[in-house]
Symmetry: C2
Subunit: 419 residues, 2 copies
């Protein structure tokens, strides 16, 4: 598919994340301080809430789908409505549209506009579905012979995370306190995290509910769209707490998502297969077609007031399990899935060192610090650092991107109990 | 505190769970099919939604707090409103109340009335805070030398569960399918769970939010009330999936709670200390006073169409960590807590075999089946079995109970993907 041209000129340049082919869903604050739904087009936002309020667009049979200023209600309406509204918005923004002048008053510049959470997260599940990541972490923790757990090639391993900790790009992250114990210490201490880390992930957003097991194909149909996701991780808290029931407070400080949900429809041209199976999957997990996406990803780290260094470049196509497979597995027990559930892919690492999606892997547990372009070194994230995830599927002369997924780390509080 | 007498006679008998001292919160279906808020009194329910609609009671400064038919909005109003409304309801139901005749038309018989979820579960966290349970399970899985994980005496170990799986007593539970692998099998299979189990727990309901670390005392103040909680567990799914990130689908089929939330105020006379510490707790986890409760608990198992056998008798005072300590730990990372969060205590087992709160422990992994009063044996739960948790704090001539927390197990579907 070639670039689809828009009358919004900035959407026709090859370096924008937001050509007409994309039309991702976001939520933003208007000049008067209201939260509205918008879609990104070039360097602008089309105010969908205002379009609906003025009767320019309407969802068949529904009143005020966008009045609440996030996309949760819209998601719940299902795939036919998703397609209809996307077609309407595409037509309104296409080159040659008769009333571009009239419509241009619904455009807001992205620059300087504050973004908000584009949907209400019902529940958040995080997976562990990248083989390079699982192998690296397993090697560090259990040695190379036991790197991959015995179940790993058969199950998309996941755990429930904390939905209340999910926040939109641009929200600062406070370094947490937690219970820590050095391997040679006799007793734990309660102290600020010393090994604060990122995890480069994609997030799949469940747009339709289920109440019983679903197939991989049905799971794919339930997915509304994708975001970039940074699963902030306190490695020292994690190391002490995670046996036997998994990570808990180590992952509960914050999870940052990109401001834009890229619709599944925009990613269709970029579907690809998961890597070859090393062990046959049980039938319920077998993919009926390509369910991953070819999405180039990178992580930038900028120390406070300084230039950014790209510390990782990888691709979503490295994942061993797709989000559709993860969602299908999630329903096997009969677990009800809800509109607004968020599934983190797991950390996305490629086979090479510069393709790793977490500092834990890049610096091999802090033993091999990296040197930034500024000359500083990093083992883990330091106070004042801004971490930015970026991602885009690369078309012929255009890209379908997510916008920056960024957050700055604030120092730990001196006394977390002081009000 | 002695029995408080009510003009509702059935509330004055020593064997009711619901004397005037209790006044627990529930949700029920009216004769016309609407969901209303109610409080239990003896063998009746006082229709609080109707009382508000008719102007008999009102919450200061609020309209229609009870119109939605569950207690979530009320919880969010805070402890002063909880106390005010409790005082109003207590006065309305007290012996000697002038207009008992007029009020009696707001009473509905519990018998034959269908109960609904009394609140909307925001997020669900399950803990592992019973020392006898952790020791028993650890001994089975890792041997007696490594029974308790090294962190166990320092951290109330918990993991995030699945809020969408929480259902009210009386809702059937369908035996799940899942990915299983026998220790001697080379490959896993996808099959119905063969080792379906219960876990006897208490659930604490968070009634006030937090956005940063809270002390144990503050955490105690945030708790609205308690329910009985049965954390259904598929032991064979759990054994294969839980390393390294904890239980996932094994715990996602269903979690059953009692229909009545017992207010913290009703449990005040029954506060007790946690057992003696075997290792000093870090300061942030130290309890400023008694935070557990003396609540007698039991589990009944009734095969389909047959009489029930009580298979376990224990007490909430066996727990090593209180819900307030668990909630305080939950916030250490800065994790925001929400109105409607539910914290499972972890399985409550006493030191003796007949005091164990899960069949896994009672039958020692299925190796020592128990014989029911009917003559049948059980290693794990069988299809058609009804499992009922009961609990009550025992006062002088009265009890403060939760009502039955019951569910019947339906057979697994022949084909979970057939619609």
């Amino acid at each position: 598919m070639p670039l689809m041209k828009s009358w919004v000129d900035s959407a026709n340049t090859p370096d924008t994340d937001f050509p007409l082919n994309n039309l991702p869903y976001g939520a933003f604050l208007t000049a008067s301080g209201e939260q509205h739904c918008g879609v990104a087009i070039g360097d602008m936002i089309l105010d969908v809430t205002a379009l609906e309020a003025d009767g320019v667009i309407a969802v068949a049979g529904e009143d005020e789908v966008f009045a609440a200023g996030d996309w949760t209600a819209f998601m719940g309406l299902g795939a036919q409505i998703w397609a209809d509204v996307r077609a309407t918005l595409t037509a309104l923004l296409a080159e040659g549209m008769a009333d571009a002048d009239g419509l241009s008053r619904y455009l807001v510049a992205q620059d300087g506009t504050q973004m908000r959470m584009p949907f209400t997260v019902s529940e958040y599940t995080d997976f562990y579905a990248g083989k390079h990541h699982a192998t690296n972490v397993g090697t560090m923790f259990r040695g190379p012979e036991n790197a991959l757990p015995p179940n790993w090639l058969s199950i998309p391993i996941g755990y429930n995370g904390r939905a209340s900790s999910v926040q939109v790009s641009g929200t600062d992250v406070r370094r947490p306190w937690g219970q820590l114990k050095a391997p040679d210490a006799e007793m734990p201490t309660f102290a600020p995290c010393k090994r604060f880390d990122i995890e480069l992930e994609m997030g799949a957003i469940v747009g339709q509910p289920s109440d019983g097991p679903v197939t991989v194909a049905e799971a794919d149909d339930m997915i509304f769209g994708y975001v970039l996701l940074n699963d902030w991780s306190a490695r020292d808290i994690q190391a002490w707490e995670y046996q036997p029931l998994g990570p808990f407070q180590a992952k509960a400080t914050a999870t940052t998502i990109s401001p834009w949900i890229v619709p599944k429809a925009a990613l269709e041209p970029f579907r690809c297969d998961t890597p070859e199976r090393e062990r046959p999957l049980l039938e319920y997990l077998q993919a009926p077609g390509p369910m991953l996406y070819d999405i180039a990803l990178e992580v930038g780290l900028a120390p406070e007031g300084q230039a950014e260094t790209v510390i990782s470049r990888t691709n979503y196509n490295e994942m061993y399990y797709s989000s559709a497979q993860q969602l299908a597995h999630h329903t096997t027990s009969g677990c009800p899935m809800l509109v607004g559930d968020l599934l983190g892919s797991g950390t996305i690492s490629g086979p090479e060192k510069h393709q790793r999606g977490a500092l834990l892997e890049i610096t091999w547990g802090g033993k091999e610090p990296i040197t930034l372009d500024t000359g500083e070194t990093r083992s883990f994230v330091e106070d004042g650092d801004t971490l930015t995830l970026r991602g885009a599927a690369m078309g012929d002369g255009y890209r379908v991107g997510f916008g920056a997924c960024a957050a700055t780390v604030l120092p730990a509080l001196d006394d977390p109990y002081k009000r």
